[in-house]
């Protein structure tokens, strides 16, 4: 496996001194707060789920006829903390109005009071 500092780069050296284009490699691929996030399908598993649902019972009646699924769908799941982490890390790769000025978009860049987002679910 990878040694923690394979290239032998030290802080007093300049980025690129080891012949790499953009400074030394890191173990995680992250560089300070610049995150590398793998694809969901690279980190998820078919047998992992982040919800609590009953196990599928055997021998229960079915009205699915000949159409019942027998083959896997090909989806993958993450646990709840892994899901939060995956999407929070992705969110940090976006620039957005909440981060600063965005002088674009006659169609979408209006001010929307935060309350409107939660009122839509008003029971």
């Amino acid at each position: 496996m990878n040694a923690p500092n394979k290239s032998g780069w030290k802080p007093e050296m300049n980025a690129g001194d080891d012949g790499m284009h953009n400074g030394p490699a890191t173990v995680t691929g992250n560089r300070a707060l610049m995150l590398e996030e793998p694809l969901l399908f690279e980190i998820g598993h078919a047998e992992v789920t982040g919800v609590d649902l009953p196990e599928v019972g055997q021998g229960t009646s079915s009205r699915l006829g000949q159409f019942a699924r027998s083959e896997p769908i090909g989806l993958v799941g993450l646990t709840e903390p892994e899901t939060m982490r995956h999407y929070t890390r992705l969110s940090r790769q976006n620039y957005a109005i909440d981060l600063g000025l965005f002088p674009l978009g006659s169609c979408t860049m209006k001010h929307n009071p935060r309350r409107t987002g939660s009122t839509r679910g008003c029971a």
């Binding site: 694809l39 009205r63 000949q66 019942a68 989806l75 009071p113």
Partner: protein, 453 residues
């Protein structure tokens, strides 16, 4: 004003710099008569957030919410439990307030999310390629018809009578302007979908056959047989799904030979939301059709340093080229709803979706068996997933009205969707999900028994 960042002294400084004495000086070119002086007639002044909350809470008391009653409504919009983390993620400002991802350098979060969403939809539908979403199921359905006419160079769409009537209406509305021929029919009220009748309507002028799976009455049509018949005449099969949870229990339309698979994604992650916004899903089985797809595609690429990145791709299909050459002029998507779908699907995963589907089906079977015991009630369906049709022997619109007054939301009457279809007046569509308790089922059964007696 809470959202205007400039102070009076900021304004004064800006006016002084440009040599204007007041803001009115900036409008001297607008004739006095055309100016708005004072508030807009009939539009109340703005209210504080606290006052708005109070107002909306009062208004909402006039609704009977799904969570506050035994609830069996479906017909294209389904009540499912949405994990709290879904809402938490979609409210993050970096997703909620990002611009459309035209600049990939500052939108990798949205673009990677869409790339993953497309893979989830493609796998769910049994297809090779899915797009980055459409407005909703009905408009996605129209886009599938339009795409089929481009691929086949034919003008006729044969629509199953058991397609959701709102979807059929959307197709007809759009076809008014394109001149395509839309051949629809009334639904057949039989225990099984009329596969043979639909196949008989396909001819060598047919661009596509549009079939809902499961259909509006909850029955599961034989897509493989319809696909074979469509392909024999050179037509495409468009499969429409309004309940994606079903695909955790039944075979995917792509596996069964559908060429274009479209549907409503609301069930996963989005919630009922008083009717919208919802989420259109769109996928094609054969990658050769990718350039005829509407909407956006997100693709994988590498940046100048060779690192993986994501971009909107193959955009020569869409609005960046001449309007008449574009495959569609839907240039935005339902991005935040797509994120909600993708997060919920990530939480479910293969295992959770299969469990969710099994639980929906188990409870629906219990409900169908229990309701069939109510005197005068007949369950129409031979097959169903989580929604089935009851024949009540009485006008279902009246029965649902009476039950609603008793605080039981019994289902959607077919007469509400098809007011002119008299033969269907006694049909009631009943949807059951994991949020339905066995107590709810018992409440519905006993209330129905009293009302029908």
């Amino acid at each position: 004003m809470r959202y205007l960042p400039l102070t009076d002294s900021d304004r004064g400084e800006m006016l002084a710099r440009i040599g204007a004495s007041s803001i009115d000086d900036l409008f001297v070119d607008v004739p006095q008569a055309a100016r708005l002086n004072g508030p807009i007639d009939g539009l109340p002044m703005h209210m504080s957030e606290m006052a708005v909350e109070r107002h909306m809470r009062e208004r909402s008391k006039k609704n009977l919410a799904a969570a506050d009653a035994p609830f069996f409504l479906g017909a294209g919009a389904y009540r499912h439990h949405v994990p709290a983390s879904v809402d938490h993620i979609i409210q993050r400002g970096e997703f909620l307030t990002a611009y459309t991802p035209y600049q990939p350098e500052i939108a990798q979060g949205t673009l990677q999310m869409l790339f993953e969403f497309q893979t989830q939809v493609a796998r769910l539908y049994g297809c090779a390629v899915a797009n980055a979403s459409m407005y909703d199921g009905s408009t996605a359905c129209w886009e599938a018809v339009a795409m089929a006419t481009r691929v086949t160079r034919r003008k006729k769409a044969v629509i199953s009578g058991a397609l959701h009537p709102h979807y059929t209406e959307t197709i007809k509305t759009m076809a008014k302007f394109t001149g395509d021929e839309i051949a629809d029919s009334a639904p057949s009220l039989q225990p099984q979908p009329d596969n043979a009748g639909l196949i008989a309507r396909i001819d060598d002028q047919t661009a596509c056959v549009v079939v809902q799976y499961p259909d509006i009455l909850g029955r599961i049509p034989d897509l493989a047989a319809i696909a074979e018949a469509a392909h024999a005449t050179g037509a495409l099969l468009v499969a429409v799904n309004t309940e994606p949870v079903a695909l955790g229990a039944i075979q995917s339309p792509g596996e069964l030979g559908a060429d274009i698979v479209v549907g409503e994604g609301q069930s996963i992650g989005v919630g009922l939301q008083f009717g919208g916004p919802y989420l259109g899903l769109f996928a094609v089985r054969d990658p050769k059709h990718v350039r005829q797809m509407p909407g956006r595609l997100c693709g994988e690429t590498v940046d100048a340093e060779g690192k993986r990145g994501f971009v909107l791709t193959l955009s020569t299909r869409e609005q960046h080229i001449r309007r008449e050459k574009a495959t569609s002029n839907i240039c935005t998507n339902a991005g935040l709803c797509a994120l909600a779908f993708s997060v919920h699907m990530t939480l479910l995963g293969e295992k959770g979706l299969r469990q969710l589907a099994a639980e929906n089906h188990r409870l629906a079977c219990i409900a169908a068996d229990r309701l069939a015991k109510v005197p005068g009630v007949r369950v129409l369906n031979d097959t169903f997933f989580n929604e089935f049709t009851l024949m009540l022997g009485q006008d279902a619109r009246q029965v649902t009205r009476i039950l609603a007054d008793r605080g039981v939301l019994a289902g959607v009457s077919l007469g509400r969707l098809l007011p002119d279809f008299e033969a269907g007046a006694e049909a009631l569509l009943v949807a059951v999900t994991e949020t339905t308790s066995e107590e709810d089922i018992e409440t519905l059964a006993s209330a129905l028994q009293e009302v029908l007696a």
